[in-house]
Symmetry: C2
């Protein structure tokens, strides 16, 4: 892991860009005190520099967490496979034509999750070697499908906050019942692109004994600010 830049933010958080082989990432950390690690993955179509992700990461770091994000293979600024480009073109065309998009999402997101998981695990290995970063590890992200897979294969992840706002492939909908860690599941009640019933079914499917759903009125990007605070308190209960 090589750090390529470092910046002290005005809330006392240090923001550092890193590369790990081909993987570019960012780490936010509050000073030098030991902090539990939170992996924060974004909707796969958006880069790790997306302002909403950065704002969530900085807020969470200021609350006492080491927060890391990466652009995994095919995500953010990383190069895309020909199949990936084709699926994205198909998706745009189908959306313009008002055609069903589930199968296209399936062919796009399924492989993205498969390819992202090992890179997130490699990153996790490297981050836990750094001084002042300890377990247990949390996951807090807009990319629920990735979070489900990570929660299933990665025993170091002890709690997860998911946002029910993107397509979850069939494989991860099946895997949901294997997720047993405490969950906070965020739902926007009127999310344009995400059927409410599908999100409620996913919440129902998780195998966790402690799972909480927070639903708020409004569309995809309308999550109220207080959910950020609630999300940190959820992490506090399980990681601190």
């Amino acid at each position: 892991m090589q750090f390529t830049s470092e910046q002290l933010l005005d809330d006392g958080v240090v923001e550092r860009a890193f590369t790990l082989g081909e993987i570019p990432g960012t780490l936010w950390k509050p000073g030098s005190a030991p902090a539990p690690l939170v992996l924060m993955a974004h909707n796969n179509g958006l880069p790790k520099a997306d302002p909403r992700l950065v704002a969530r990461a900085r807020y969470t770091a200021a609350r006492g967490y080491a927060v890391a994000t990466i652009d995994a293979a095919g995500c953010g600024g990383r190069s895309r496979s020909a199949a990936d480009e084709q699926a994205r073109a198909d998706l745009r065309r189908a959306m313009r034509a008002g055609e069903p998009v589930d199968e296209i999402f399936e062919s796009l997101i399924g492989p993205l999750v498969d390819n992202a998981v090992p890179e997130w695990q490699t990153t996790l290995d490297a981050l836990l070697q750094l001084p002042g970063i300890g377990g247990p590890v949390g996951y807090s992200g807009g990319w629920t499908a990735l979070g489900i897979r990570l929660a299933v294969v990665e025993p170091r992840i002890a709690a997860a906050g998911f946002f029910a706002g993107g397509y979850v492939p069939r494989a991860q909908r099946e895997e949901a019942r294997q997720v047993t860690i405490p969950l906070l599941f965020l739902l926007q009640w009127d999310d344009e692109g995400n059927p409410r019933q599908r999100a409620l079914d996913l919440f129902d499917a998780f195998g966790s004994e402690e799972k909480t759903l927070h639903a708020n009125l409004g569309g995809h990007t309308g999550t109220p600010w207080f959910e950020l605070e609630d999300g940190c308190r959820f992490l506090d209960r399980h990681l601190k």
Copy 2:
């Protein structure tokens, strides 16, 4: 309003029993500093002295609120009408026989709400005359049907926390769309006696622009402790 007892609790909260005409009530208040008022109504079948209500009231008072509850007409220790006794007997018989109970609940809870509302309003009038108690007023209660009606008829109520755990008469399900104050709606995902879909439909029906659903795994009495904390933070956002 006549105070009939006063007790200083170990968290600095003063608990006072009162009567207001025929209405018996309890008021919890943190010291002498001014505090916003929270009306806390219980599931109508249970008395104001129910330990879970008292625990919620004390916790909320310790967080800086004046909290009041009453046994309204027909509730708790108050005498019941013959029709009320009959409905309760019918309910027990139908439940033993495994028969549908919606119509019996309708005949029981509908009139209870109608009779309770003016008594809660009379109590509200009297409480707001007391020194150190100010508006805006919150409602936090297990009795959602009463809360809906109060939120519709009582402009002094500025925010409400409801628990989706009891029968809500047709009249209040209709009135839900007239509720426009900020809401926090608590749902137990596996509540034995309360169909989940009916609770989700009720959440959907509320006319409020700010409404949040918190759903947790488990049965009727399994609400996790952190929801008490979340409920106070919801009140903090709107009453302080």
